[in-house]
C-alpha cells in the first residue's frame, strides 16, 4: 500500500491541478535507489484557485487524511469562503494520516508562480498513476530562493549525489 499514490490517484480522478515539488519531487529524477532521499513528507504545489483548493481538501478527506493548519484542525465547514481566505493568505494546509504520512498543500513555491511550473511539468507514472512533477531545475531554484537551513542542507546533499551520479567529471561545489 502506498498512501501517496492513493492520494494522487484520487486527486487525478477529481481533476485537481497540482504538481509534486520539494524533496519528494527530486526523487523522481534519481537514477538509482542510492540517490533517493528518504522522506515521508510530501509537498504539493497548488494554484491560487479556491475551487481547486476545495477539490483538493475533498480528495484528501476521501483518501482518509485529516487537514490541519499550524497545530489545529482546519475549520469546518470547509466551504468556498474558507478556501478563499486560505488562498488570500497563501496559507499552508497539511493533510495527514497522523501516523507519519504528511502532505503539505502549498500555494507558494518560492520564486515561481503556479502556471510557470505547471507549464513545464513532467508527468511520470508509478503503478499506473500519472504524477505531475515540477521540473528539477524549478525545485532546486525554489529551494535556493527559500534559503532555509533545511533547503541549504538539501542543496549541498543533492549536489554531492549528482556528483556521484555523473561520475565526478564535473564536481559541483554547492
Amino acid at each position: 500500500m502506498d498512501a501517496f499514490l492513493d492520494l494522487i490517484r484520487v486527486l487525478r480522478q477529481r481533476g485537481v491541478r497540482f504538481v509534486v515539488m520539494g524533496v519528494a519531487g527530486t526523487n523522481y529524477y534519481a537514477q538509482a535507489a542510492r540517490v533517493i532521499f528518504t522522506t515521508q513528507d510530501y509537498d504539493l504545489f497548488l494554484p491560487p484557485d479556491p475551487d481547486n483548493l476545495l477539490s483538493t481538501w475533498n480528495a484528501c478527506e476521501a483518501a482518509g487524511l485529516s487537514l490541519w493548519t499550524e497545530s489545529e484542525p482546519l475549520d469546518i465547514p470547509r466551504d468556498r469562503w474558507l478556501a478563499e481566505q486560505i488562498v488570500k493568505r497563501r496559507a499552508l494546509i497539511r493533510a495527514t494520516d497522523r501516523r507519519g504520512f504528511d502532505v503539505d498543500l502549498s500555494l507558494v513555491m518560492a520564486g515561481f508562480d503556479f502556471e510557470t511550473v505547471w507549464g513545464e511539468r513532467r508527468v511520470f507514472i508509478a503503478d499506473g498513476v500519472d504524477i505531475p512533477v515540477a521540473r528539477l531545475r524549478h525545485i532546486v531554484e525554489s529551494k535556493a530562493a527559500a534559503g532555509r537551513d533545511k533547503d541549504r542542507l538539501f542543496l549541498a546533499t543533492h549536489a554531492e549525489a549528482l556528483r556521484d551520479l555523473l561520475g565526478r567529471e564535473e564536481p559541483p561545489s554547492q
Partner: protein, 74 residues
C-alpha cells in the same frame, strides 16, 4: 461586510501565524554553474522525460521505510 465570528477569527489567526512562519526566510542560497549544469544533464536524460515509469522509486521508498521501521537499538 459581515463581522467574523470568534471561531472563524481564531482559525484565521492560526492561519496568519502559519503564514508568518513560512515567511521567516534567511535569504536566498547561491547555486553555482557546475551544479546547475548537472541538474540540466539529469533533466535531459531519456528516463526523466514525461511518460517515464517511476514505479521503482516508490518501491525503493517502501523498502527504505520498511527497513527503518524494523530497526531496533542494540
Amino acid at each position: 461586510m459581515a463581522a467574523v465570528n470568534p471561531t472563524d477569527d481564531k482559525a484565521l489567526r492560526a492561519i496568519d501565524a502559519a503564514v508568518a512562519d513560512v515567511a521567516r526566510l534567511t535569504g536566498p542560497a547561491t547555486l553555482d554553474d557546475t551544479y546547475m549544469r548537472a541538474v540540466e544533464r539529469v533533466e535531459a536524460m531519456p528516463e526523466n522525460q514525461s511518460g517515464a515509469d517511476k514505479t521503482w522509486v516508490h518501491e525503493a521508498l517502501r523498502q527504505f521505510q520498511e527497513h527503518f521501521r524494523r530497526a531496533r537499538r542494540r
